[in-house]
Every structure is written in structure tokens, then in C-alpha cells.
Symmetry: C2
Subunit: 411 residues, 2 copies
């Protein structure tokens, strides 16, 4: 098994790109990834294959056959190319496929990418498109969609452990703080700034951030989750280049080594799960990734954790072994997951604040780990020279999970 | 790079399964693949990962997240699982992914599968769903769909080389003959039998098969292609198990070795291609697969070649190097691609007669190679103890192509 390195990443700004198609976004992300290759890359000479995650181009753009289409638009027509899908973990599936292909020795350099162009549809349209990540036969027929599914998890978590919706706002506040330091984030604003702006616009006053978060300006979506507990509708794309370790030096002296890869699944319908406060898919994926990397959760310096809804960051931070079951919310409240904590999570603002173009999210997580481990994260750079980072990207109501562990190359 | 073996295959009957969903079809194919493992398989113990091709469950079943869903319905919830998409080559992409995963040493046994449940939609609905394999922006806006795209190829082929639509009927007749010998085929009938049935039903007479094929009962779809030049709308699923060669003996003494893997792409829009009578994607894929297998086209004993439309079998048989450019049609007319020819193609009836549930087609091709190389193809068994077989599965208007070469295990 060949060892695999990450030699560059790139991504678009996340947000509403009304004037761009999915292919436009891909090219924009690819351009950045190309410029980020320290010693340069010749796309036509070096890129041997392309694997691209996109959840539902079918519904968002009436477009399939994304592998061949993307190769063409990147000027790479001719090379092996296909798409992977695992709902909101679609680009992590591309990363896994690229990893397998390089590790096997089949191709020595693979481009992996993720795209989602969501704003072609209105909000009900997007909610309907995303709902195909749940079970059409046994869940959607009840009328439930994703905010409702995660609301059930939140309710069970609060009932089983201590904690309340108010406590959960720690995650909202933290991720908006981090997002305010990220020029690629969809919402580059603290909750306090959003509250202030709302107050001026509506001619009202808020005592503090919590007063705003409890107000009608943060409406209930599915009890107990409110608007600011939910990640937004976003357009965006992300790209990474993987090589065998044997050749990575041609491209950079500062690669990240991919030292752990783990994938897992769970029942797609919540009705099949004995406990909604834990994700079996994530546990399986994490166990496999730690075992492969021969490390433990304590060794992880920073992590990107799939906060499609605030409650999920808390649950997954436990399933990843960072905190004991039922203690993730307390850990967040103690500031342990903040930029200056001992286990910083979602330093880029997370899906909550950075945005969540679902197919692009997995590799966008890798983008942040790349910056942080290379010390290039600017105003949000974590102190202490982090060396090992983890991404945890899940699909649907965590029915699939993919975990990757990266280590800074220089010793 | 670990060597990879195919240890079993299974598939549903192809055709109209109005009473079954995609997941039902998958399970039916999996059951057969399980019973085909000579020494038995324990799914929960042995299957380490699942990769499943399905072109557009989004449009056909309002269902995504197919990896996790399929793992659950197979009783394998927990294992790594995701979907691949490359239009009509979606399950070949799953096969490639499974190949990479086993070859890398990541998993020692991977289940790969393909599904398409097309009959939920009416014919215009299916045509629209399939059209997303073409370029939505630059092709579909002109009103063209796939019969039209392949009709353009046929027109250019006939203009550039000799040949006519009448000549092309060799392929129709051959594939219906082969399909008449395949109990899993959607149309298990010679064209002569279909003509006879039509004559009785409509109270008309036909001089011969060609008289029927030229009649209004074989209507023009897109000049020069008529109804019987087109593969049908089908439901179906297909499954294969891959292992590292190190462990294949645990499961069978008669594995097939996967000795060649090649993938290629071309511009998705026909407007980007200088010559419509050749598929660059297929040429690229074939060159890579032959190089890896260290063989030449002459060494291939039997082949499954993507005949979504009759003209495509001819074009691809040239791009695969079986015949010189412009000589594929003549070779078919000389009977060289028939069951008793020197290069039998589509011994199972091909997409034309066996059916074409698009996401299931790639692995269904592998199913036929499995039977033929093991001498288990019954009435359609090719003589001469074939040892090396090839599958060529393409997506859309051959904008992506995947070629696999299999060799019988025992020496």
C-alpha cells in the first residue's frame, strides 16, 4: 500500500453565487488549488485521474455525468473521471476514492473535488432536493425533512443527558466567531454583529446575544432547533490534489500525509437506530481511521466536525472520542472546542457559518486542516503549531460518515 | 499493488419490474451473487465495503444516499459504502473503485453493484432523466436527446465509410438472436419471432425480417435509427464480489483475474469532437487496459461492448482495436462478432436485447464474461474454451468509457 500525500487545496468563497454554474465554481476552486501547489503543477502532464463529489446535480442543475463534464471543463478531457455520491459526504467519498487509487499505485496523482450549486432552487426546492438523503419510503412519507430529523436527535440528547437549547448556543456563537475570521465564509459575522444589524434594521433592541437568539428574528425551524442552529443554503466548490508520497516532493516540501482513512454507515432511517444521541457510522469511521493512523483521539490537535445543525457537532465530537458520551456540550461550554481551547473544532466557522454547499463540504474541511497544519490560517490560526488534524464529514442524518487524519509532513 | 480477483456475480432478470423498487432489485441480485460463491460467503464477516453504481436514483426514485441505504437493506449497515456515477457506466465506476480499494490493500473483499429502476417514469420522463448524461447547457438546450446524438454518429459513419442502415441491422439481428438464448434478457426473441407475432397481431404479412424492420412497426426514432436500433427502458440490478488474489481461494477455485483496468473520457458535448465515428474515451480506456494486461486486442476471446444503439457497438468494436477504423460494420456482416465468429460480441444479447437498466449495465456485462469464461453460459456458450474476456461500458454519448479485462484463473 503506497503512502498518500495531500499536496494542495483550493476552494471558492462559499455563499450565494447566482451568476455561476457548478462547472464555473469547480474551475474557480481548481484555479486556487493550482496556485497553492508550492512548486507548481502542470495539469495536463501531472493529473492522471479526477474524482468529484456532487450530491445531486440531477436536481440542482438537471445535469449528470459530472466526471466527464468536469474533466472537459478543466481542460483534462481524456483522463479517467467519475463522480461519487454519499449525500453531504459526497466529496469525502471522492477523497476516499482518490486515496484508494493513489494507494493502489494505479495513478500517482489524482485530483479530487466537490461541488454543489444549490441556489438554482428556492428554499422549499432545496429542502426537497436534500431530503433524498433520507429514506424516501420510510421517512419522507411521514413529511419529515432534515431539520426535523436533527431536532429529534437534539430532543433525545437533552433528555438523556443534561443540557438545553440555550446551552447549545455555545456552538452557534463559537462558529460564527470563527467564521468572522474567515474571508471565504458565507457569514463573516459574530452573532452580536448580526443582532446589532437586526436591531437597527427592525428598530428593536436586544439585551444581549441570547436575547436575539431567543427572539422572533431567530425563528423556530423544528423544535428545539432555530434558524441559527441550521447551516445555510450555499453554492461552492473545493479541490485537492493527492499524490503518492514517492513523488510529492516534486510539488511541495510541505505536504500533509494522509495517515488515517475510515468510513462507516448506519441505518438511513432514524427508526432503525436504538439511540439517536450517537452516530454508529461516525464511531465506525473513527475507530478505523485511528487504528490505521496508530493514534488516539488525544493526539488530534484540531478537527473539522460536520455541524450541519449545532447538535451534530456536539454528538460527533463525542463519537470521535474527543469527549465522553454526554460531555460534548459541557466541553463546548467550557471553551475546549474554541480557537484557544485544547481541542479546537471548526476553526473556519464550520458548516454553520462558513456555509454548506453539501457536495463541496468534505474537501472544504480538508482545506482548513491544510491551512492550520501549515500555519497559514491567518487571524484564526490555532496556536501551538498543530501537527495532526482530522475531518469528519457525514451524509444525511449521519447515515454515512467519513473520517480522514492528516499529519504535517516535515518532522 | 495487490492483484484482484472476481469471485462471483449475480443479476436480476432485466425488464419491467413494476412491483419492485431499486433496493428490492439490489437484494435480488445480491442473493444470486451470494449463491454463486462456490465455497460460500458470510456477508457480515467477509464484506468489508460496498460501492454501488446508480445513474440517477434522484430522478427515478426521489432517493439519494444510495451507499448507506443499500448497506442497510443488505443487512450490512455499518460498513463503508458509497455510490458512484458515470451515467450509463455508473457500475463500471463502482467496479473501478472496488478494484482500487482491493488493490490498495485497504479492504480484502469489496462488494460492487449496479442498479437502475427506470419504469417509475413514463417514456418522455425516462428520456428526460437520461438526458442529464448530455450537456444541459450546450446540448439539451437545442432539444436533442440521446437517440438524436447517436443518430448523428450513424450518419457520419455511413458518410465517412461505406455502409447503410440496412447493413447495421446485422447487429440488431445478432443481438436479438443471442438474447433469445438468455433467460435473463428483456427480449428473449429473434427478430423473426417478433415479426411473426406482429404479423399475426396486426393482420399483416412480412416477406422477411428486413421487410419487418423497414415497416412502420419499427418506427423511425431519429434518422437513420429506428426503434429496434435502440436499447429499451429497463429495471435491473447486478452484483459482483472482488477480493485480493491472496484470499480468493477461500471462496472459489475458479476465480477470474482482473488483469486490465482502463478509464477514459471525451468532451461531453458532441460539438467538441472532431470526429463522431470514433470514441476517444474508449480508445484511451482500451489502451490503458491492454497496457496493464500486457496483451493486444487479438488476445481477447469474447467481449461485451456497449450497444445502447446499434451503431455504437460497431464504432466501439473499432475503438477497442478489434477491427480497423471503418471495418467494424463489415466484420459484423461477415459474422465475425456472432456466437460462432472469431470475436464474439454481446453473447448475452447486449443492451439491445438483454435490456439496459443503465446503472446496472457495467456489472451485468461482467456477469456474462464470468459465465462464458467459466463455461457456464449454456445454450449461448462460446466454443473453444475462451480464456480472456473484455467489458467496454460507456456513459452518455461515450463521453466516459471504462474497460476491464478478465482472465480465467486456472491455468
Amino acid at each position: 500500500m503506497k503512502e498518500v500525500d495531500l499536496i494542495s487545496v483550493g476552494m471558492t468563497n462559499f455563499g450565494k453565487h447566482f451568476d455561476k454554474t457548478g462547472r464555473d465554481l469547480l474551475i474557480e476552486a481548481a484555479r486556487e488549488a493550482i496556485t497553492h501547489v508550492d512548486k507548481g503543477i502542470d495539469m495536463k502532464r501531472d493529473v492522471k485521474a479526477l474524482c468529484i463529489g456532487y450530491f445531486t446535480p440531477d436536481l440542482f442543475e438537471h445535469q449528470g455525468h459530472i466526471g466527464a463534464l468536469s474533466a472537459e471543463w478543466l481542460g483534462l478531457s481524456g483522463i479517467p473521471a467519475f463522480r461519487t455520491e454519499s449525500a453531504c459526504a459526497s466529496s469525502s467519498a471522492a477523497l476516499a476514492t482518490g486515496y484508494f487509487a493513489v494507494a493502489s499505485g494505479m495513478y500517482d496523482l489524482v485530483m479530487v473535488a466537490g461541488v454543489e450549486k444549490m441556489t438554482n432552487l428556492d428554499t422549499p426546492g432545496v429542502t426537497n432536493a436534500l431530503s433524498i438523503a433520507a429514506d424516501d419510503v420510510f421517512e419522507l412519507t411521514t413529511g419529515i425533512t432534515f431539520p426535523g430529523l436533527f431536532a429529534l436527535m437534539a430532543q433525545e440528547y437533552f433528555e438523556k443527558y443534561s443540557g438545553s437549547w440555550e446551552d447549545l448556543q455555545t456552538v452557534t456563537l463559537k462558529n460564527h466567531h470563527n467564521g468572522s475570521l474567515n474571508s471565504k465564509a458565507q457569514f463573516q459575522a459574530e452573532i452580536s454583529a448580526i443582532a446589532e444589524k437586526t436591531a437597527i434594521k427592525k428598530g428593536v433592541t436586544f439585551k444581549d446575544e441570547m436575547d436575539f437568539l431567543k427572539s422572533k428574528y431567530n425563528p423556530l425551524v423544528a423544535y428545539p432547533l432555530r434558524l441559527f442552529d441550521c447551516s445555510p443554503i450555499s453554492d461552492g466548490a473545493s479541490v485537492a490534489f493527492l499524490t503518492s508520497r514517492e513523488i510529492s516532493k516534486r510539488f511541495t516540501d510541505k505536504p500533509l500525509h494522509i495517515i488515517g482513512v475510515g468510513l462507516g454507515t448506519d441505518t438511513i432511517s432514524l427508526s432503525g437506530r436504538p439511540d439517536l444521541t450517537t452516530s454508529k457510522a461516525t464511531e465506525n469511521a473513527a475507530v478505523a481511521a485511528y487504528k490505521m493512523a496508530r493514534i488516539t483521539p488525544e493526539d488530534i490537535d484540531i478537527a473539522e466536525v460536520h455541524d450541519c445543525f449545532t447538535i451534530n457537532e456536539v454528538i460527533l465530537s463525542e463519537d470521535l472520542g474527543f469527549f465522553k458520551k454526554g460531555e460534548g456540550l459541557k466541553a463546548a461550554q467550557e471553551g475546549r472546542t474554541s480557537l484557544s481551547g485544547d481541542k479546537p473544532i471548526n476553526t473556519d466557522g464550520g458548516l454553520k457559518s462558513k456555509g454548506h454547499p453539501v457536495g463541496a463540504t468534505g474537501i472544504a474541511m480538508v482545506h482548513e486542516i491544510w491551512l492550520q497544519l501549515r500555519g497559514e490560517a491567518g487571524k484564526r490560526q490555532v496556536k501551538g503549531n498543530p501537527k495532526i488534524g482530522l475531518t469528519c464529514n457525514v451524509g444525511g442524518s449521519s447515515a454515512s460518515a467519513m473520517v480522514f487524519i492528516f499529519e504535517r509532513g516535515e518532522k
